[in-house]
Each structure stands twice: as C-alpha cells, then as structure tokens.
Symmetry: C2
Subunit: 260 residues, 2 copies
C-alpha cells in the first residue's frame, strides 16, 4: 500500500524543477531497476509488485530500506509508462563536477540542443556501447533525468558521464589545446575516408536545425555519413541518434584497426 504523499511525490518528479528540488529521479521497468541494483546503486525508494520483490537477492534488498509492495492498479496510477511492469524506484541524483581536462583527453560527444528525450537516451546508449565515456550537453538539451531519457538509455546512464555546460567554452578550450572538433555536416568528408583517431570532440546538432551557427567555427574536421547517392528530395539527413551510432561505431572500428 502506497501512501498518498509518496504517490504525489513520484508523480511530481515528472517535472524537472521538482527533480532538482528533491534531488531524485524515477527509474521504471523491471530490467532497468535490476540494472541499477546489479550496478549496486542504492534506491531511495522501491515500489514493486510482490513477484518483483520475490525475485530480488538479499544483496539487492540491502540496497534499499524503503520498500512498498503494491498491486497493478497502484503501480499504474504512478507510472509514466503506457504498459507499467512490476517495479518503479527513486534514485538520488549524483552531482557531477565536470573535469574538463579529463573530457579533453579522450573521445567526447558534445550535444548541441538535442531536445528529444528519446534521442538523448539512445545517444547515451550508443555511447555506452561504443565506449564513449563522456557526453557534454548544451543547457537546452533534454534533461538526463527525464523519465523518457532514462527509459531510452536502458541503464546506459550508469556507464556514461553526462554533463551540462556551455559548449562554446568547452570548444574554445579544445581549440586552444589543438584538440580536433568533429562536426557532421552534409558538405563534410566521408567518415570512411577521414582520419578519426582516439581523441577529440564530436558535435551532434539539433534534430531539425543541425549544429548551431555559433559552434560551426570551432569545427576542425567536417565529416559526413555517406548515403546511397541517389539524391531524393527531402531525405536530407539521418535522425541524430542514428547518425551518432554510425559515427561512434566508425570511430571505434578505426581505433581497433589502428591497434591491430
């Protein structure tokens, strides 16, 4: 049985302002909640149906001291999903301090106004898969703790550090240190022909406007994903999540080839 106050809090956490005030975010779905537990992340609150609670190991149970057993109706009431599963949990937001020197040492994705939560989530998932450890988002990107971002990332938020900051400052520093800045643009060179390397910043632009004009001057390496060449009116771009996957994958392929 879930108290009214708890239900109210969980539903209010759909709002960014409330998440910031409370320092909490929602994760939902059995697979996702389990992934957090496997990664040993303490849960501030776990709300679940008995079948989910029974499936927990004693070690997992120790990661939370506030467990509410609920039925399907109660879960549906607080859920953000169309088809709620058996569990939902609240997790503490961990303040992350951006270590710019560290970010500039490896490969980092810089997201310029990626506003769709699903796109942000899939980009984080692709980054985790292809070994990109840091993502820096402009302040107007979707919020990483938005339930749709967490859902689309499928737990990848646990393995990629996501920061929010002014991209002009970051790119300015990269420029000073002669670190390459890659930008996907239609007039760029094919990612298959272009030298990519293990170090640099990959800018990914807004869903409809691409990379903003004020960031373009920082780009040292204009790259593009070759299409089939049959030009079609309208089909002028890939979705930003798909473009990110193809670009990250090619960076990884080339870096593995270099090592061999």
């Amino acid at each position: 049985m879930l108290s009214k106050n708890k239900a109210k809090l969980i539903m209010a956490l759909k709002k960014k302002k409330v998440r910031e005030e409370e320092g909490l975010f929602v994760i939902e779905g059995d697979k996702l909640v389990k992934e957090f537990l496997i990664a040993k992340i303490p849960l501030k609150m776990l709300i679940a149906k008995p079948e989910f609670l029974r499936s927990l190991t004693p070690e997992m149970r120790r990661l939370t001291d506030d467990i509410d057993e609920v039925n399907s109706d109660e879960l549906r009431h607080i859920s953000t999903l169309k088809n709620p599963q058996n569990s939902l949990a609240l997790v503490k937001i961990k303040e992350k301090i951006q270590d710019t020197n560290k970010i500039l040492r490896g490969l980092t994705a810089a997201l310029d106004s990626v506003q769709d939560p699903g796109n942000l989530g899939t980009i984080i998932r692709a980054a985790a898969w292809f070994g990109i450890k840091n993502i820096v988002c402009s302040h107007n990107c979707a919020d990483i703790y938005n339930p749709k971002v967490i859902q689309a990332s499928m737990g990848a938020v646990l393995y990629v550090d996501v920061y929010y900051s002014d991209l002009k400052i970051l790119l300015g520093l990269a420029c000073e240190k002669m670190i390459p800045v890659f930008g996907t643009m239609l007039e760029g060179e094919s990612i298959y022909d272009h030298k990519l390397g293990n170090n640099g910043i990959i800018i990914l632009g807004n869903e409809s406007k691409g990379i903003s004009a004020e960031l373009v001057p920082f780009i040292t390496d204009k790259i593009m994903i070759p299409g089939s060449g049959r030009s079609k009116p309208g089909i002028d771009s890939l979705n930003v999540g798909m473009a990110a996957s193809v670009v990250f994958s090619e960076f990884l392929r080339k870096s593995v080839m270099l090592k061999e």
Copy 2:
C-alpha cells in the same frame, strides 16, 4: 473553418481500423507535407494556416482540390503532435503488391516484431539514406501509417517500399534460392570482418526479445556490431533503430569499396 465531420474523420484516423476502412492516413508538419508535395503525391485533403498556404507554388496547389484554411486553435484540436505546426494533410493509402522476386534480388530488411512506431520510422529513414529499397515487416510490427511512424520516417516512406507479410515464407524462399539471410546476434561475427555483399535479407529483431526462435534457423550469416569490449552488466544491446543504421551503413560502405 473546418467542418465537424472532417475534424472527426481526421481524429478517427489515429486508429488503424479506421485508416484501413477509409484508405487514408495523416501526415503532419510543414516539412513533411512539403516533401509529399515535392514528390508530387496528391493530397486528399489539406488543412493549413494561411502562412503555409501562401508558401505553396501553383504546382503544389494543383495536387489538392480540398483545402481548408484554419487557425492555430483548430489545428491544435485535430493535431497528433505536441507542438502542431501550420499544416496537416490526408493522403490515400496505396495498395502495394509484394513482388517477392524483386525483393530477393537486392538487399532487403525484414523486421521481426518491431513494435515501437518511432523505431519503425527511423529504420525506414535509415533504409532510405543507405539505399535499402524494400522492407518486409512481420504482421505484428507497428503499422506504417501510424502517425508516429510517418513522423519519425520524415518522408522516407516515399522512397522505401514497406510490405507486411509472413517472414517465415519469405525466408523459406530465400533459403531455396540460396540467398544469404543475415541476423544480428550477440554471438555473430563482427560486421567489419564478415563478407556482406549486395544481396540478401537482413533480419532485425524485436526491441526486447531480439529475433524470434522460429526465424533463427533461416539465418545463414550471424553478424554483430562490435562494442567497446568493456563488458558492462545490463548494456547488452543497441536500440534496434541504431543497430539498423550501423548495419545498413556497413553494407553500403563495403559495396562501395567493392566497386572501387
């Protein structure tokens, strides 16, 4: 001013059953509507704000003889988008007859229970970009005329033929004709090392369950997308749309390399 009956019809078209009965589907958003007009697709009905109507060329206007000028409130009332733009249109569903011989000659994607409309839309978009002309969906995939599919495909539905059929029959025929069937599986060989070629069927599986057990025996080529190698609990797969993009891109890269 939009009649009540028209508004009712447009809203009812969110349902697959109604779309099938009426033989119509909805496209929405200025860019998308323009793309259909540029491709010379006649619109059964165009509902738009004056600024959109003013932007049409006489040739575009000739593609529809039923135009309703509306204001923002009227458009919001019938819209399926969170932030409606200036236009919405109804388009006739064109019956497509599957030419299996043609499908088996080139590269075709076979989607096995891809149920998320956004994923189906982005896969169609990726197919258009990377030159895959045919997609065969299992009957339980999302419906191509679902507004969310059309929206996510960004007009790519105009350039890719999408069929619904029994994948077992298609794959059985491929088998008989010794056409390679590619399936992405965690135990597959790296797409970078595997021979891909210009001909074959690429199976993409369900968002959470992967490729169904009954289709696995048809796979002649098990392939996988290499990750960064640092194994992480939970991060066991890419989103199906991202996987499709990386795989299609690699097929295209290799086929271009072969020609050079």
